[in-house]
Amino acid sequence: MTDSLLPFAVFFASIFTGNILLTNYLGMCSFLSVSKELKTSTGLGMAVIFVMATTTPLNWIVYQYLLIPFGLEYLRFIVFIIVIAAFVQLTEMTLERYSEPLYQSLGIFLPLITVNCAILGVSLFMVIREYTLLTSFFFGLGSGIGWFIAIIAMAGIRQKLKNAKIPPGLEGPGITLVIAGFMAMAFMGFSGMIAIS
């Protein structure tokens, strides 16, 4: 594959074959707790797309131009977390002030995902896989979309599940995890389409 196509390959791969939630099982806590309704899941999913697509390139810049030159790569965990937290806070304030409709739909979810492990995970994978800035952006965007698809699929299933008979021992998170497992297996069907590395 030529280098110029790599960003797009990564983009599709991070949605389907290397879905951050279903193959790496990252971001499970909000996935399990907020997937009860389609509407709230959509809001949370959109917020995750936005934050992943923006913080991943941001962290790339900080990593390449601040941490590597000084040989401080091992500080990336703490630095990434600080950057993500500050950025999310800033976005929330801006939305609250200037865009009522966006704040209504995304704003209340932003604080929830500041410390979502999927967000940090994407930034860390970006470092391990040595992506360029452009590829990092598409990787962040794709991972966000992948997470979004996974949570709305789960919400759709759970809404139908309300009327289903579930063994008492499996009610709640139990059955949700089982379904997440099935979904992960279904997504395995995509593997081999594009390899992500």
Partner: protein, 368 residues
């Protein structure tokens, strides 16, 4: 080694300082809504508050208390306020508590709604009188095997001006049954004349958060936060005859009303039916008989539904509804004031209807 240490500290500090400055600037510009005006009830009161905070908090700071059981977490749905102008869109966190009708009237959940511009709101007039009080437990005594009388001395502010029959909210701190502060409503049993004290009558409910706290943990000298007064259960200013009916700790607001009548020299004809199971559930009999002495037109009628043999009871026997039906006839010129469990109140309203009390003259305070 030292150099690496210094560099890493330097870089982390640099990033943190940069982000901190960015956030401080953002807070001072984007997050600064300036001073906004809250106009209450068509301008009968104007407040100037810092913008950007929840309405409930802004009002609290200015000494206007909206009843709220959860303390502003958006989990009780009580702190509703009508926002006439400056409301904007509903937040997802408000919607579960707001009915369609309330939506048309712009009723908002004041703990979630943030004041970002000048707003005009409408609240019940009596909420202006509501304050938060720090109190000290002056005495606790057993009225019966499961009802305690708690007397609170007001410390800050020192005076309360309730109407007889109103209630306050009692703040229960975190303890083994609750991991957050909760608020429970109790009627005041004290005379409104006694402005420095509040008396409550609290019956132990198994596993009740507040009642267990009061019965098992509260000691004399403890500090307790209350807020109030609230409620529209008070004596109406008419010359109709009065029928009081209460059971258990429903005694509290009725006692307050009677003390108030005695003090003001109100001589309306009044009968007080008090229902209990057996003699061990009766209390304050001497006080009530003393009131009968002082007020010639007042009769106290305690009734037992299940008198025990050792009670040697020669008073009324039967459910309170049966006693009322037996003893009251033609009561179209009467007002009724009821306080007790929902079951008792519903049953009493039926009986009162049978004996001719008009529905608009029946007032009650239901335990819930």
């Amino acid at each position: 080694m030292v150099v690496t240490l210094l560099i890493s500290i330097g870089i982390i500090s640099l990033i943190s300082v940069f982000l901190a400055i960015l956030l401080v600037i953002a807070d001072a510009t984007i997050g600064n809504y300036g001073v906004v005006k809250i106009s209450i009830n068509d301008g009968s009161k104007e407040l100037e508050v810092q913008g950007g905070q929840p309405l409930l908090k802004a009002l609290n700071q200015e000494g206007v208390f909206i009843p709220s059981a959860c303390g502003g977490r958006g989990s009780c749905g009580l702190c509703k306020v009508r926002v006439v102008t400056g409301g904007g869109e509903y937040l997802p966190t408000e919607l579960p508590w707001i009915s369609d009708k309330e939506r048309q009237n712009n009723v908002r959940l004041s703990c979630q709604f943030k004041v970002k511009q000048d707003v005009a709101i409408v609240i019940p007039e009596e909420l202006f009188l509501v304050k938060q009080f720090t109190t000290v437990v002056e005495s606790i005594r057993d009225l019966t095997h499961d009802i305690k009388e708690v007397r609170l001395r007001l410390k800050d502010p020192k005076e309360i001006t309730p109407k007889a029959g109103q209630y306050i909210q009692f703040e229960v701190p975190e303890y083994e049954l609750t991991d957050e502060r909760v608020y429970r409503a109790y009627s005041m049993a004290s005379s409104p004349d006694d402005k420095n004290h509040v008396e409550l009558e609290i019956r132990l409910v198994p596993n009740g958060i507040c009642t267990t706290y009061v019965h098992k943990h509260l000691k004399e000298g403890d500090e307790i936060i209350i807020n109030g007064p609230y409620g529209d259960f008070f004596l109406r200013d008419t010359d109709k005859n009065i029928i009081f009916i209460a059971g258990g700790s429903g005694m509290a607001p009725i006692k307050s009303m009677l003390l108030d009548m005695e003090r003001k020299g109100i001589t309306r004809k009044a009968s007080y039916f008090f229902g209990a199971r057996s003699k061990r559930d009766l209390f304050l009999l001497e006080e009530m008989h003393a009131l009968e002495e002082k007020m010639p037109n007042f009769t106290f009628i305690p009734a037992l539904s299940e008198p025990q043999e050792e009670d040697n009871w020669d008073g009324e026997v039967g459910l309170i509804t049966d006693v009322v039906r037996r003893m009251v006839s033609e009561a179209s010129n009467s007002e009724a004031y009821l306080c007790g469990s929902p079951g008792m109140i519903d049953a009493c309203i039926k009986v009162l209807d049978e004996v001719g009390v008009l529905p608009e003259n029946i007032f009650y305070d239901k335990f819930s």
